[in-house]
């Protein structure tokens, strides 16, 4: 919102510097965006928050200044002489769309002489209607004529949009309709573009067709020009939602739509109409018809709001003198209704839609009194706070992964179809989509983090960073059973890594060890889109899927133009965290020596390590402190086809005594016979 330094002085004396004023306004709610010298004037650019439609005109800003500097405020009376016959006999308004238009007023001036505007008017409009071009030069306001310029002037004076129609160009004379547009109707607006209208939009129409898009822009056909003799002045209230939707749909935003979206003063509508007529009579002559046509002359008064003085201190933490409170609210236009020692009831002014509750009045008092008055040495009481175990665990995860040489990336949550289609280990349901794309073409809520990381790895490779080993911790969005369900947002950890399948899997195992997961992880072979068939597994903890590890398929690797194989893993953090023991518990260290033995078994190819390990483990109790895989090799000539040799090491130890060689032999014997019985294994002599 641009205000002119000179123009403001029509309503309030400015006995300060423009810099001081800008600063003061910034600190009371009208943020100063910048100032621009225009001829002999200064245009001050103020940011007006969406609740303060009243400050979208000079009078509103002047009122703020008057309160802040305790200066007198003078507002024109706007009492034009109405010497013509009653307007009601010449103009009618039929409101068929009250949801979009709560009040419509019309006045009529006959016999105007349309000509160029006087200098004072042009100068005022030039100070606030310029635009800055890209090269920094100013695009000046082009004055139109004395009638149209006056409507613009009053708009910038009080924030109420006005429109002037040429009565002669309205079909059927002064029979105005406010109605939904009809399907297929179009209108050429005063910007000389033609707009296609639909029944959700409100239009002002004459007997046959729309002559304006309500609250947005007038039509070219009924525009006031040099030939115009009689003008109808519209001053109305169009609903914010209707105007916003129409402006959005037509991609047509105007100073009018901007103000209607932020609400206009329901009582100021008539003042603006009178003021507009007054200035037209002054600059263009003519005769004003007596009275106005008004579809809703009585606006319901909002109720009084009570401010308890105790609440100021309860919310702001400071005491403010009663006299100061009364001064501030009175000068802002509130009317005192009752007056008790501890509380005062107020009728807020009609232009302040935002003052309906006690909290609103507290804010008014606070911002005018000054937030600098609020102390910054009011500490809050001490309260304990503990770190969430989630944060502790995730911190450990990050430490471990960075120690493995993998770096943390953050990639967009919404991905392209191409990335989404690469792989989706968690679900077969199609990804959720946003209505608008987040980045170019990216509309799908990702179901896995891996494709994004693969994309990053590929981009790194293209930029000659060979080893982009990356991890990410973020939500994935697993669609629910029905489209109305909020998705299951799973906190996931994923990485892409140049190491082998065994190395990637080893990271998972180390992670579980570090986080104190004592459950044995179950490993199930899995065929997944985007992964190599026999080098991909599903990992489970207590029957729940912890995640997946696998080697990315050749095809995907080629598509990504990655020169070397890459492994990927994705884990569910909630499943991981459900089984971790973040506070390690000390296990007594046995002072007695450990006996290690190597066992070399010949077993059938189909027996997996996990089976062998489980059988070895189950053969003994606590004396068996470790089972370690060493290696596998094959000698079909000696062992026969479909057999393999698996070398493993075991550690034996007692917590209460030294294990003798004899005891150790017996324990080993138990393992051997168990393996023989259950796995048809044969121990090789060393």
């Amino acid at each position: 919102m641009l205000v002119s330094w000179k123009w403001l002085q029509r309503y309030v004396p400015l006995n300060m510097t423009p810099e001081d004023l800008a600063q003061r306004l910034s600190l009371s709610g009208l943020n100063h965006e910048g100032s621009q010298a225009i001829d002999q004037d200064i245009a001050i650019d103020l940011e007006v928050t969406s609740n303060r439609g009243d400050c979208l005109g000079h009078i509103g800003v002047a009122r703020e200044i008057a309160v802040l500097y305790d200066a007198p405020l003078s507002i024109p009376e706007a009492r034009p002489a109405a010497e013509g016959p009653p307007v009601a006999d010449q103009v009618s308004v039929e409101n068929r769309f009250p949801e979009a238009c709560s009040r419509y007023t019309a006045r009529l001036i006959r016999g105007v002489k349309v000509q160029p505007s006087p200098d004072w008017l042009v100068e005022a409009l030039r100070s606030v209607f310029w635009k800055k071009r890209r090269d920094g030069s100013l695009e000046e306001y082009q004055p139109i004529n004395n009638v149209v310029d006056v409507t613009n002037y009053v708009l910038m004076e009080c924030g109420q949009p006005l429109h002037a129609f040429d009565l002669a160009k309205m079909d059927g004379g002064g029979q105005i309709q406010v109605r939904p547009a009809r399907r297929g109707e179009t209108l050429e607006a005063i910007d000389h573009k033609r707009y296609e209208l639909d029944p959700s939009m409100c239009v002002i129409a004459d007997a046959s067709q729309p002559i304006a898009i309500a609250g947005v822009m007038g039509g070219a056909d009924s525009e006031v020009d040099e030939s115009t003799r009689d003008v109808v002045i519209e001053s109305a209230i169009f609903s914010p939602l209707s105007v916003r939707r129409t402006a959005r749909r037509l991609k047509l935003h105007s100073p009018s739509s901007f103000r209607f979206e932020r609400r206009v003063d329901p009582e100021g509508v008539d003042w603006a109409s009178r003021r507009c007529c007054e200035l037209i009579l002054e600059t263009a002559g003519g005769t004003l018809a007596e009275g106005s046509v008004d579809t809703a002359p009585h606006t319901p008064a909002p109720g009084a709001v009570t401010l308890r003085l105790s609440q100021l201190e309860r919310i702001l933490g400071i005491q403010i003198d009663r006299d100061e409170v009364v001064r501030i609210l009175t000068r802002l236009g509130c009317e005192q209704v009752t007056d008790q020692p501890q509380q005062i009831a107020w009728n807020p002014p009609s232009w302040r839609h935002d003052l309906t509750r006690e909290a609103d009045l507290i804010e008014e008092v606070a911002r005018i009194h000054g937030y600098d008055q609020i102390p910054e040495d009011a500490p809050i009481p001490v309260a304990p706070s503990s770190k969430r175990s989630f944060d502790t665990a995730v911190e450990q995860v990050r430490h471990l992964l960075t120690a493995a040489g993998i770096s943390e990336a953050m990639t967009p949550s919404i991905v392209t179809d191409r990335l989404d289609a690469m792989l989706s280990p968690w679900t077969d349901r199609p990804a959720l989509q946003t209505e608008t794309a987040m980045l170019e073409g990216a509309r799908r809520l990702r179901r896995s983090l891996i494709p994004s990381l693969l994309g990053s790895r590929a981009a790194n490779w293209a930029a000659a960073n060979r080893h982009a080993d990356l991890f990410e911790i973020a939500h994935t969005y697993q669609p629910g059973a029905r489209s109305s369900d909020l998705p299951d947002e799973q906190y996931s950890l994923a990485w892409v890594y140049g190491g082998s399948f065994a190395q990637s899997k080893g990271i998972v195992e180390t992670l579980l060890g570090r986080l104190g997961v004592t459950l044995q992880m179950e490993v199930v072979g899995e065929t997944l889109e985007g992964f190599v068939a026999d080098q991909t597994v599903r990992l489970k903890l207590a029957e729940e899927t912890l995640g997946f590890v696998g080697v990315v398929s050749d095809q995907l690797q080629k598509t990504l133009k990655l020169p070397e194989p890459v492994t990927a893993a994705e884990l569910s953090l909630p499943v991981l965290l459900a089984h971790c023991q973040l506070v390690p518990q000390f296990q007594a260290v046995s002072p007695y020596p450990t006996v290690s033995r190597d066992l070399n078994f010949v077993i059938e190819e189909s027996v997996r390590w996990s089976q062998l390990r489980n059988v070895v483990r189950s053969a003994l109790g606590t004396e068996l402190t470790d089972v370690r895989y060493q290696e596998t090799y094959r000698d079909p000539e000696k062992d026969g086809q479909e057999r393999k040799r698996v070398l493993l090491s075991i550690d034996l130890q007692r917590s209460d005594a030294t294990l003798t060689g004899n005891e150790a032999d017996q324990l080993v014997e138990r393992i051997i016979s168990r393996c023989e019985q259950q796995l048809n294994a044969r121990l090789l002599d060393s």
Binding site: L27, S50, R248, A359, D372, P412, A459, L486
Partner: protein, 340 residues
């Protein structure tokens, strides 16, 4: 010769040899030791081996086993001595060593600067008693708007200003639609719906708004939202907490100021600025929790009051690390990531 004698002479040979190999200091002494112990004709081992035939037949396997063992041990000893000599010679006669050559660095990964910033923020707020809370990123209009006192005709709900999900049977903005949350304030509501005051939380996470990406805008960014609700919480408390926070984060005594602003979920609402390097820096929005929000979650605004604040994590992160383009944060580019 008895088996015992045979074994013990082998043992003493092994001991002697390992001592001799350890003392090797020149090519000559190496050759001497080799001939003495492993010489093919008259070496000490060969001499003992000749005695094998004199043992009883049933003693032979054990003797042979030991003999082989010692033979392996001697060969290994010779090999080690040869290598040690070569090493010693190259050390004295080869090119001089350069200890200033770089060591072998560990190849460690890097933690993302946004994570580092968020951990820092959590840590500072944690010391003031604020615990971390989180919530979903896909939200319903109740949590993202309605409970936050954002009415249906508010521009913040416009489909063009949010990422609504394209669902077959819901109209964007209507009660049954879903959207990517546009602010972390949603977590305020989720926490307050489930707990009674006193409440002190911060929630950090991703939020989404359709901004065209440029150096300072990205359609996905992070916010930290703080909320405190209790009896007798005032705006003076808010100012104090934010000042302490700023002093902590920026590391010096920082001036703070409030400018009036407007957020539907706070009243009064303010913008918070910090004076840093003689410049007022916009820090974020804050205010006293709007009574309508307290009522929406079933609190009595007459008994409890509270403050809330929200700030952009990227801005703090970028300022701290002198990052000039927000898009770098989400590029996954190692040239960027490896600097943190």
């Amino acid at each position: 010769m008895s088996l015992a004698d045979f074994l013990s002479s082998l043992q003493s040979l092994q001991d002697e040899a390992s001592e001799a190999f350890a003392k090797v200091s020149s090519q000559q002494s190496l050759e001497d030791a080799r001939v003495r112990f492993l010489g093919a004709k008259n070496g000490a081992l060969r001499q003992i081996q000749k005695q094998l035939g004199k043992l009883d037949k049933d003693e032979k396997p054990q003797a042979g086993q030991k003999l082989n063992e010692v033979k392996r041990s001697l060969s290994a000893g010779l090999e080690r001595a040869t290598e040690a000599l070569a090493d010693a010679q190259s050390a004295t006669t080869g090119p001089p060593a350069d200890p200033t050559l770089p060591g072998e660095p560990l190849r460690l990964g890097h933690i993302h600067p946004i994570t580092q910033t968020m951990d820092h923020l959590k840590e500072i707020m944690g010391r003031m008693g604020f615990e971390t809370a989180e919530g979903p990123e896909v939200e319903d209009p109740w949590h993202n708007f309605v409970a936050l006192n954002i009415p249906e005709d508010h521009p913040a709900r416009d489909p063009l200003d949010n990422f609504y999900l394209a669902t077959a049977d819901a109209v964007a903005g209507e009660a049954d639609s879903q959207l990517m949350r546009s602010q972390t304030s949603t977590v305020q509501i989720r926490v307050m719906e489930n707990r009674q005051p006193p409440i002190r939380i911060v929630s950090l996470g991703r939020v989404y708004r359709p901004d065209a990406p440029d150096a300072t805008h990205f359609p996905m960014f992070h916010q930290m939202e703080g909320l405190m609700v209790d009896r007798q919480v005032t705006m003076a408390n808010l100012k104090t907490v934010l000042r302490v926070f700023a002093n902590n984060y920026l590391g010096s005594d920082v001036q703070i100021r409030f400018r009036p602003s407007f957020f539907p979920f706070t009243e009064p609402s303010v913008e918070v600025d910090f004076l840093w390097n003689d410049q007022w820096i916009e820090f974020g929005g804050a205010g006293m929790v709007d009574p309508a929000v307290l009522s929406a979650v079933g609190y009595d605004p007459e008994t409890v009051s509270g403050f809330a604040f929200g700030l952009g994590v990227e801005r703090l992160c970028m300022r701290r690390h002198n990052i000039t383009d927000i898009r770098d944060l989400y590029s996954g580019d190692m040239r960027f990531l490896s600097q943190f």
